[in-house]
């Protein structure tokens, strides 16, 4: 078992990790920037160390400062949370090289899953369905035409050396493809000095479904799926479990495939295997594996009763998995919404400021993971997540009703938040029917965003 844990993060996830550690009797050390001296995670940890100025790269991304804080306070382990250094393979290596335990997978596992092509190959080798396309670089237009048999149209042609959306072309038909492929090749060569191309089927309408994994390096289990199809600018805003789109047979196939991948790479810790589910074709495809705890992990905790962060700490402490697959069962339905310091009526403009008063929802089936307290000033230097409101009920319908009830109890004065968005979504017939895909919310916002102003509080 770990003795003393440094939490290399801030905000609600730092608070969440400190709580899990304290429940297990593990001493905790918080780190904080100059902007976070009064933050809740600093108040709740046994000790706290200032690691630098507000800018993340000078504090929460400053590996030497974090390692020094761990050494100075006698920690034996570091939990990276999510974001910041959580998926930095070099950080995992550096923690291990300093003689400490990294609460997460090895640097090699992070590196493998962080490389899109390598991860895709690993998934394919483990028998996990991948988005149809080339396994690596396409070797000329003849080979490309052959790949079209698998992908169909529309197909994406992507520069191997590109990134961040650069060097991507979409072809909707064979004539378009015959024209686009040589152009993409010439462009890639001119722009990146490398004419290498990849091809991938474009899945226009899909649900985002992901499988929670726990693994100890030898064995792996799944804790079922989460559906996170309600997204804005590729950011999840509303997550739930289980997914209403899956049949029992498909759920079993999906979850088993995630376990196969985790075993194939000797994964250790908590991880999430993400998929696109094409409902019309009734097929799912691997997108990526996230080698960390995720923001939306509480929905899985609510339906399975497992404390995922506690399990991470036990695994890191050297214990084999404490839970057998047959012990993991689903009870009811859970939904999480992300309350961000953003004004949904003004195109989600960020809204840092001071919390004047705070009323937190409660009662049966309600959980509120947050770093807020009355008088807390939200600094402008980090992301806008303020709180996660999670509800659990016997059915999806009851969970949505409970979400609306909990949102009506929630009052955060002094800040604009995304609460009006979730009140509108909970009341929306399409959301209630669960009939959405990853592009649905952006279309809905075009017609509804201007009406997302705070309603009168009860």
């Amino acid at each position: 078992m770990l003795n003393k844990l440094l939490v290399a993060n801030r905000g609600e996830i730092a608070v969440r990790i400190i709580r899990a550690a304290r429940d297990l009797g593990i001493a905790t050390v918080a780190v904080y920037s100059d902007a976070d001296a009064t933050a809740l995670h600093v108040q709740l940890a046994d000790e706290a160390v200032n690691i630098g100025p507000p800018a993340a790269k000078k504090s929460y991304l400053n590996i030497p400062a974090i390692l020094k804080a761990a050494a100075d306070t006698g920690c034996d382990s570091i939990h990276p949370g999510y974001g910041f250094l959580a998926e930095n393979a070099g950080f995992s290596d550096a923690v291990t090289a300093a003689g400490l335990i990294f609460v997460g997978p090895s640097g090699d596992a992070i590196r493998l899953m962080g490389d899109k092509v390598a991860a895709r190959s690993a998934a394919h080798a483990a028998g996990v369905p991948i988005v149809p396309g080339s396994l690596g670089r396409v070797d000329g237009i003849d080979a490309a035409r052959h790949i079209l048999i698998d992908t169909g149209f529309p197909v994406m042609i992507k520069a191997a050396a590109g990134g961040g959306g650069r060097g991507i072309r979409i072809a909707n038909s064979l004539p378009e493809f015959e024209q686009a492929f040589p152009q993409a090749e010439a462009e890639a060569l001119a722009a990146f000095g490398d004419g290498g191309l990849y091809m991938e089927k474009v899945i226009t309408k899909a649900r985002h479904i992901e499988v929670q994994i726990l693994a100890d390096g030898a064995d792996a289990i799944h804790c079922f799926e989460r559906e996170c199809s309600l997204q804005r600018r590729r950011q999840k805003v509303w997550e739930e479990a289980p997914s209403r789109a899956l049949t029992p047979r498909l759920r079993d196939e999906l979850c088993s495939s995630a376990v196969r991948l985790a075993r194939a790479v000797n994964y250790s810790g908590a991880g999430t295997v993400e998929y696109l589910y094409d409902e019309d074709a009734d097929r799912f495809y691997f997108i990526e594996m996230n080698t960390r705890i995720q923001v939306e992990h509480p929905v899985t905790e609510m339906i399975t009763g497992i404390d995922l962060v506690a399990e991470m700490l036990c695994i890191a402490g050297g214990e084999p998995l404490r839970i057998r697959q047959s012990d993991v069962t689903v009870k009811g339905h859970a939904i999480e919404v992300r309350l961000n310091a953003e004004d949904p009526a003004r195109d989600f403009a960020p809204f840092p400021g001071t919390v004047d008063s705070l009323r937190i929802p409660g009662g049966p089936g309600v959980r509120f993971d947050s770093m807020l307290y009355p008088g807390y000033t939200v600094p402008p230097f980090y992301d806008s997540l303020l709180a996660k409101l999670i509800v659990h009920a016997e059915t999806r319908e009851a969970a949505i009703t409970r979400m609306a009830r909990a949102l009506s109890e929630l009052q955060i004065d002094g800040l604009k938040t995304t609460k009006p968005l979730f009140q509108a979504l909970a009341a929306d017939a399409t959301v209630q029917a669960g009939d959405f895909h990853t592009r649905w919310l952006e279309g809905w916002l075009e017609t509804h965003a201007s009406r997302l102003t705070p309603s009168l509080e009860p």
Binding site: A35, P53, P54, A55, A341, E342, A349, P350, P352, P379, P380, F381, Y382, D383, S384
Partner: protein, 77 residues
């Protein structure tokens, strides 16, 4: 002395990205509406446009320095 204030709290940047030249340098002339820098607030970037015109620009806030809303970023003579 006329001054250009930060409209938002956040981190001040003098150029659009690290590999770009600064929008303005000390001694420049500024017109109303000229962009003099960016403020990063919660990972989103907002242009800072001058609401005053003048000459002899002098930055008092450094690149990548944290600022509060209303802080003076630069002065004009």
């Amino acid at each position: 002395m006329p001054a250009i204030h930060s409209p938002l709290p956040g981190t001040f940047y003098r150029s659009a990205s690290p590999d770009k030249p600064p929008y303005k340098t000390d001694g420049d002339t500024v017109a109303v509406g000229d962009v003099i820098g960016l403020i990063e607030v919660m990972k989103s970037f907002h242009e800072v446009k001058s609401e005053v015109a003048g000459t002899g620009l002098k930055f008092v806030t450094d690149n990548e320095e944290p600022v509060m809303a209303g802080a003076i970023l630069a002065e004009l003579s």
